[in-house]
């Protein structure tokens, strides 16, 4: 049984269909990535899984239980729009949030002490959150998400607004949680983060799921049909190629997706005529490329954002 099961989920706001017949499953001990451009319906889906807003139709179960106040307590959620009470002390705040998640005071106290020590933040216990630096309060935010030791973790755009140190820290936490056998779901519009961390993915566009499954097998399915090219000299030959799509282009680099079975040796030949080739490699397509070829270039909202 999957930890999070989403079946035929739909949600409409007025005339806009935010989530349209979405289904996917997230498994225990794995990291599940929800990706797609901003406005694709990721946050709405996550809010419904967290029982913050109700779905119009469809079914969501958490460990076999339909979403309810009870399932809320099984989840640690860090929303994209996140913050803390500025005037409350760190300790009081964590205690309040932990108790809201159903912890009793003494267990909460132990957990809070453990995590503050773990992040070498024990001195902050009696500090008012408003006095903390941004990095510090981000750490407190992590603690508030995981303090009740839930089975499931949901992070909505977790890396946005994080400083590099905290980004690394969060990655470590996520990997550690996976090793402990927890279920992690996170959303992002930055494809490269998914490539680095996720086991399974679900691609969203305009409220619909366009692709879902295991990241490795999805990539394998697409085959080695992408050329990474590094060169020195005149790059205009790239413009003369037909039946290709160039995803990542700079003065001396290009990521070329071959369409319609064009022979990649043709590309190499043309390139050698005009420039000096430093590298020519045939690879699996990037997730970004997979997304574009699945959705079709014209159907992507907020396309620029995908170019991470």
């Amino acid at each position: 049984m999957a930890t999070i099961e989403v079946e035929n989920l739909s949600k409409t706001f007025g005339k806009t269909v935010a989530v349209d017949d979405v289904s996917f499953e997230a498994q225990r001990g794995r990291i599940f990535g929800l990706l797609g451009p901003n406005g694709a319906g990721k946050t709405t889906t996550i809010r419904m899984i967290n029982y913050i807003i109700p779905q119009d139709s469809g079914k969501i179960t958490i460990q076999g239980v339909r979403v309810s106040p009870k399932t809320q307590k099984m989840i640690g959620y860090m929303p994209e729009e996140r913050g803390l009470y500025k005037k409350m002390k760190v300790g009081e705040q964590l205690m309040y949030l932990a108790q809201l998640k159903g912890l009793d005071a003494s267990t909460a106290k132990k957990q809070i002490r453990y995590w503050l020590e773990r992040f070498s933040a024990s001195d902050w216990h009696s500090k008012v959150v408003g006095e903390l630096s941004k990095g510090m309060s981000q750490k407190i935010q992590f603690i508030s998400t995981i303090v009740h030791d839930p089975e499931i973790y949901i992070f909505d755009e977790p890396f946005s607004g994080l400083d590099p140190i905290n980004s690394e820290l969060l990655k470590e936490i996520i990997i550690e949680l996976r090793e402990k056998g927890k279920t992690i779901l996170f959303s992002t519009h930055r494809m490269e983060q998914v490539e680095q961390m996720c086991d399974d993915i679900c691609l969203f566009n305009n409220g619909k799921v366009v692709l879902t499954g295991n990241l490795r097998s999805i990539k394998k399915e697409f085959g080695k049909n992408t050329v990474l090219l590094e060169f020195q000299g005149d790059g205009t030959f790239l413009d003369e190629l037909d039946d290709i799509r160039i995803n990542n282009r700079s003065t001396n680099f290009a990521e070329i997706r071959i369409l319609n079975g064009l022979d990649h040796q043709e590309i190499l030949k043309k390139a050698m005529e005009r420039a000096e080739i430093h590298k020519f490699q045939l690879v699996e397509p990037s997730l970004n490329e997979i997304f574009i070829s699945t959705v079709g270039e014209d159907n992507i909202k907020n396309k620029e954002e995908l170019q991470a």
Binding site: R47, I53, M78, R82, Y85
Partner: protein, 430 residues
Amino acid sequence: MSWRQVYLVLRREYITRVKSKGFIAATILVPVGFVVLFGIGILISVWESDITFEIGVIDQTEVLAPSLEEMNEERYTDYSDLAEDSLRTLVQQEQITGYMILDEEHITSDKTLELIYSGSGGIQLLNSIQSDMREVIREERLQRAEVSQDIQNIFETSVSLNSRRLTAEGEETEDDTAFFTIVGMAMGFIIFFAIFGYGGYIMRGVIEEKTNRIVEVITSSVKPIELLSGKMVGVGALAITQFGIWIIALVGLSSIAGPLAASMMSDQSAQMQAMGAPEQAELPAFLDIPTIETSLIVYFILFFLLGYILYSSLFAAIGSAADSETDTQQLMMPVTIPIMLAYFIMFHAWRSPDSMLSVISSLVPFFSPIVMITRIAITEVPFWQIGLSMLLMVLTFVGTMWLSAKIYKVGILSYGGTASFKDIAKWIRQ
């Protein structure tokens, strides 16, 4: 609804606010303000003698000036031996406040009197000069007409009214209408300010949670309705705490201040009597406090709480729809207007508590908390009216709570811009 969650929310609301500097400052400063006001009240009545305004009189009749001087020695001075120009100079040098020139015609006809003065003293001075003049001229006219003493006595007639209330049980009780009018006004005022004050607390709290971006973290553990009710009860408990402290402080202080002021008064009146001013010996009216019935206090608390719950959920809804505190002005309108109307109707109810307008508006749920309590304090309101107004308020509360919960639920999760009334209507229909 989970009561544990509501309790956790209300406890946080209560504890963080009760410990805040703003709350402590307000709680202390209000009784201090009361003491200061009370003290000023005593001081004013003890040293009632206001600043004297000296009016010079050039009297060509030779009779009016002496009687004016006799009437108020400090105010009027006979300057008949000086020329008008010298008096003008005196006014300009601010040695006297003003001057009048009186002649025979003022007695024989209703010729308009003319006062030339520096402009200080205000309407009160003008009124008292007018009445002084009326009196001396009338007296002089009566004198000249050689009317009998009887008729002169008729002109001195003064009527006083002493009223007692007859209760349904046939008892006559002391009528303290004047006092209870003030009490009723005060209670209406307090509820008016309390609704704005505590409602504002809730509204700002909701906006703060939105701008701090903590609200989504909270809603992943708590239902919006739990959060809303927890807030309302928490701030309500805060209001009760604050009022409790004030009432205790008030009772305590007035039990000390009453006798203290009375002893000061008696010292003062002893002096006054020695100086031959027995009419000053009475205690100022505000120290002679008739007892406020317990039922009035109970009604006050009930109407305060009903008014609070009726309006506070709406304030929360406004907060949830706004993006920042400065954006609330327009959204506040539908809530501000009924409260302000109630406030203005209170002034009418205070003068005629049993008029049609007063009765009907005291039954309108949005006006009741302010208008009805004023009426209850001043007049005998039939119980069915009180009961009906409370029932209507409870029913309306169910409606406003339902409405607010709908707005609140959507509003707290909408970022980036204050919602328009059109948006809010959409949220309600959702």
